[in-house]
Symmetry: D2
Subunit: 235 residues, 4 copies
């Protein structure tokens, strides 16, 4: 999995703070923006998050380049509708030596690993043969969920809050969970205040939303801040 933050709205903390301030102020926008530099932006954003006033978070958006993830993951990812996607097409791009993603549970089992690799090999051969007879868009019916894909995805900070709450969660599948944690790390680097409360539900203001299906082992705040000590994403 290779994830890169390709672009984002500049100075996100300042912009979110100014938009939030505008709602309750008689001052003009330029004045508000000017006043909300540095620490003042940070404390305005903190106040905003404490109040559950989420709409100003929508003004800043983040664009990710995502490669080496499975089509199983991309099918889950594009279910997040408050987002924009451009994805490599299997209709137009033939993938004779397609890269594939191996689930850790399979990699960790000698027998499962053998079965998996043998199946991938059989699929590759079938796909190449099919390409001799039918268009790529039809040959791809034999390609597996494991097949790697590439996307450009853009989400605003409010939508990312929701994405992180659901997908950083231990109940999310390991692959999209690893992606979510990596995206979280990337945006916290460039917008630490905006994303100060972002993370799995158990670390965000409202708490776990899984109800009776809760995993029972919430992340701790230190895991969020830990960088290297990040939670085991396969758990």
């Amino acid at each position: 999995m290779r994830v890169k933050l390709l672009a984002h709205t500049p100075e996100p903390d300042n912009l979110v703070a100014a938009a939030a301030r505008l709602c309750y102020s008689g001052a003009d926008i330029a004045t508000i923006k000017m006043r909300l530099q540095g620490d003042k932006a940070a404390s305005m954003v903190a106040k905003l998050l404490a109040l559950g006033h989420e709409s100003p978070l929508e003004h800043v958006s983040f664009t990710f380049g995502i490669e080496g993830v499975s089509r199983a993951l991309s099918h889950q990812l594009v279910r997040h509708r408050m987002a924009s996607y451009s994805q490599q097409s299997q209709r137009y791009v033939a993938e004779e030596d397609f890269e594939f993603i191996t689930p850790p549970t399979i990699a960790d089992s000698a027998e499962a690993g053998r079965e998996f690799l043998a199946a991938i090999g059989a699929i590759r051969r079938a796909y190449s043969s099919l390409l001799l007879h039918v268009p790529a868009e039809d040959a791809r019916y034999v390609l597996p969920n494991a097949c790697a894909t590439k996307l450009v995805a853009t989400l605003n900070a409010r939508s990312l809050y929701n994405f992180f709450a659901l997908r950083c969660c231990r109940r999310a599948q390991w692959e999209i969970r690893a992606l979510a944690w990596e995206m979280l790390r990337l945006v916290r680097d460039v917008a630490p205040h905006v994303f100060d409360q972002a993370g799995p539900g158990c670390l965000s203001v409202h708490g776990c939303s899984e109800g009776q299906m809760s995993c029972g082992s919430p992340y701790s705040k230190s895991e969020l801040d830990g960088g290297k000590d990040e939670p085991d994403r396969r758990a």
Copy 2:
């Protein structure tokens, strides 16, 4: 492919007509609704469509049960974000004898057909073996795009107009095109006036949107009305 219209807003023509009329009338809503029965609703809706005033179409929604379609199709379908989906999960439902979709080009070629069936067989065996070692959510990495899935999908009439324009089009893949034409037939049965201008771009008011990539062979209006004479969906 099995497609059923599970539910829809009752009396869609009347509701769309009343909502449209409201914008330009001083009368109250009950009076407007009462006046817009039968032919009057039909002519109000026709006027609306002629003016390109699409927003009243959003008030009526249509819920489809869709089965026996591939995961290749469902990945395309859920890219339509102005819609609601519930899809059978491959994480929670194991599919040892999964149903699969065979593209017509493969079915029509003896050699491709053989290759395809052999690959599906190999995948099935690998999937069953993997299930002995790993959870279904990981074993499914070996499952193919051809694997059948089930969805409940709800779209309002405005979103359906857009869906039909893009997916009834000859440039759409055969499978989602067949689904789109079937959905179009189902909604035209219950809301003939609302969907009078719906169909592939070439049959709708604005015309083909494919620009230089146009297929060059627009559908004719009679194909839309023809029922049995529907266009060859594999073309």
Copy 3:
């Protein structure tokens, strides 16, 4: 304020239950729907809400006719973007004897009431005079927020949950709060199970979202069920 439920997806409990069940079942949709009649639908929906699994709620939508509300209210209402609106236009419908909404605090104060009525009178005269010189779309610049408007609004159950959480809340303005409680009453009549957990944040599963701005006096569940004993909407 006159609010009417103009239309809704038929049998909402059954449809939501079937869509939810589909995600975790290998059975076909017709079988699932058939099995989920009456009490079984109710208990499936209850389970769904307990798990915070909200997406199946999107399959059912509700269309309201709303009249005798102010333009102050409609400006707030249309900020809910997961919804569809048709609103009477002030550009095309002249409103020489426009109906107007009087805030209870103004009605309750003799002096404020007098000031308010005098101002409305002056505005009406100015509007009528302006209509002699300029188009209605420009004359309306003098019309007040109090001016009554009419809308048709359609929201699905998931969006309604969010609308109720924010707008049934004591921190919402009295007028949209009265509208929200009335809409809640109407949908609970036709879809009691689907809306069993709906209401102001303090009565819903996640609790108050106002943080430090909380009103400090949560509604009690009995107020929700009480019908006549509904909370004072001006509080």
Copy 4:
């Protein structure tokens, strides 16, 4: 009216071009981005627009500070739902000497101008009196549509295309049309290729969408490019 482009996704042409290219390429994202500098991005974007392939336009967003516009305009503006807004609240910010917007048709008529100013004066006095008795959120019921407001608005390029098509149109009201043309000028400055085909429907690829309600006098391309020679916005 004061409109400022507060922020935007950096290098919009390059990002849109890279996202579009990704769909049809086997190369990795970094390579694609690197290759699409300058003229190459421009020609990729041009190709994209010619094909009506709009989704990559969503990856770049633009944030505007808008001041000195009427509440009549803001009520129209927020009907564009593919957008994010933060607006100065009339509930929390008292407006005793509120700024107001005068429609040109009123300013141009001596009699209408007098009537209008007199009414604004009466409203101001009533508003100040009401503030002595009731909260600002209720006193504001007497405030007119003409009352000035401030917003921060963020839209992506695809949503802006739609906004410009509808609101640069001669059939839009003069005030939001002036706003739309000003926003168009601002984004064409920073993303000339991305917005090369943007403008009123009559100047965009699909043509006028007003059907039988067309104004009959389409803008000419030179008006779009003209800067100073911009169309009379009151027409």
